[in-house]
């Protein structure tokens, strides 16, 4: 869909709600801002799923290993934290991209 179609569609939906003035006032800039806001929300929301589950599995296995070999707790905790920090990276990419959409594009 080209931007003009999206604009017309949005104006039609809002006009249906009985708000003719708001429908007339809607501009292409508003559509871009709305898109950036929703994009930032989807980016951070879905981007948080993977790191959350992945870090949980890393920590779960670390707990299991410490249960079996408590004398190696220091080494295992260090390895767990390094693994989690690496899993975290995609979550941080999502955060950065979401902030870019919110503060650079809007």
């Amino acid at each position: 869909m080209d931007p003009v179609t999206i604009l017309t569609l949005a104006q039609t939906v809002i006009a249906q709600n009985g708000d003719q003035a708001a429908a007339a006032a809607i501009s292409g800039k508003d559509i871009i801002q709305a898109g950036a806001l929703i994009g930032a929300g989807i980016c951070m929301g879905f981007g948080a799923i993977g790191p959350g589950i992945g870090e949980g599995f890393a920590a779960g296995k670390a707990c299991e290993a410490i249960g079996r070999a408590p004398e190696e707790a220091g080494l295992l905790t260090r390895t767990m934290l390094i693994g989690q920090a690496v899993s975290e990276s995609t979550g941080i990419y999502s955060l950065v991209v979401a902030l870019l959409m919110l503060f650079v594009i809007v």
């Binding site: 249906q16 806001l37 929301g45 981007g47 589950i53 870090e55 949980g56 920590a59 707990c63 809007v106």
Partner: protein, 325 residues
């Protein structure tokens, strides 16, 4: 093409009730099925102890079925709630759809979560029938806590149905659907995660019954932390319902609430399940070696705190979307 307010009200009732019952029924059905499957397997191995197994299975299913009952109650309310004349039309329809999304998604997670401890308890009773009372008690404590995200979701759904929604026009539509998504989706992960933790604790207790007190303590702490993303979702839903009176009634206001809801709601799923995976293994390891419980608790808390970080990023982004941009 104009849609009359009465048509909007019917659209809201049907779509909202479908979300509530359609999504809310899945979790409890899967959870109860897992308990029944494991009870059957246990009876095959130990036919003489079938009455113990049947009791544990039925208790687990009765408690595990309650999220779907919350969904049924809210679904019936959505279908038969008297029309609010002030908001009749698209706004009333969106409050019904928001309530349906909140309770549907919220009960999905808790239903699966309640099934996991019931499964572990049936497994444990089949192996060790003389310990069935203690195991069933731990199972029910775990299930009760795994249900708290679905209770939060039910509260938000009832607030959406019975309290006035702030704002006008598109802003109200955004707030109603946004509060529903942020609460419902964020309760999904914690419900499953809390259940995974309870499952690990019940499994640990069935293998090492002597370390029950310390196992239950670790389980309670881990489940409380698993529920944090659901609390973030509830916080954002409360913010939307009570503080956004001056939201712009334009497409910008709508996309602000919708985007914040997707961020904090969907962002809570992963951390909830991840914290549950940590709780699962740490409860089992604590039951195995109760003398290492302080070390295990420390590692578990560090692991859960790090898994939680993306939920905190999601909360920050949601608040930035609502209040800064």
């Amino acid at each position: 093409m104009d849609i009359a307010p009465e048509t909007w009200n019917f659209i809201g009732r049907f779509v909202g009730a479908a979300f509530a019952l359609g999504l809310g029924g899945i979790g409890a059905a899967v959870g109860m099925g897992m308990a029944a499957a494991e009870a059957n397997r246990g009876m095959m191995r130990q036919p003489s102890r079938h009455s113990d197994l049947l009791r544990t299975m039925l208790l687990g299913q009765a408690v595990g079925g309650s999220p779907s009952i919350f969904a049924l109650v809210v679904g019936l309310l959505i279908l038969f709630l008297p029309v609010n004349e002030a908001t009749s039309g698209a706004v009333f329809a969106s409050t019904l759809i928001g309530a349906g999304l909140a309770v549907g998604l919220g009960c999905f997670g808790s239903g699966i979560g309640c099934g996991l401890p019931a499964l572990a308890a049936c497994q444990g009773v089949a192996r060790n029938p003389e310990k069935s009372t203690a195991l069933t008690t731990t199972m029910m404590i775990g299930q009760a806590l795994a249900q708290s995200p679905s209770i939060f979701a039910t509260i938000i759904a009832l607030m959406l149905l019975f309290l006035p929604i702030p704002g006008v026009g598109l802003a109200s539509i955004g707030i109603a659907i946004g509060a529903g998504i942020s609460m419902g989706a964020s309760a999904l992960g914690p419900g499953i995660g809390s259940g995974m933790t309870a499952g690990g604790a019940v499994r640990g207790q069935s293998n090492w019954p002597a370390s029950r007190p310390v196992t239950v303590r670790t389980m309670l702490i881990a489940q409380a932390i698993c529920d944090t993303p659901a609390i973030f979702g509830m916080l954002v839903a409360f913010i939307m319902l009570f503080t956004l009176q001056d939201l712009e009634p334009t497409i910008i206001g709508f996309s602000q609430t919708f985007a914040a809801a997707i961020a904090v709601g969907v962002g809570g799923i992963g951390p909830g399940i991840g914290c549950g995976a940590v709780g699962d293994t740490s409860c089992e390891a604590t039951a195995n070696e109760p003398k290492n419980d302080a070390l295990m608790l420390r590692t578990m808390l560090i692991g859960q705190a790090v898994s939680q970080s993306t939920a905190i990023y999601a909360l920050i982004i949601a608040l930035v979307i609502l209040f800064v941009v």
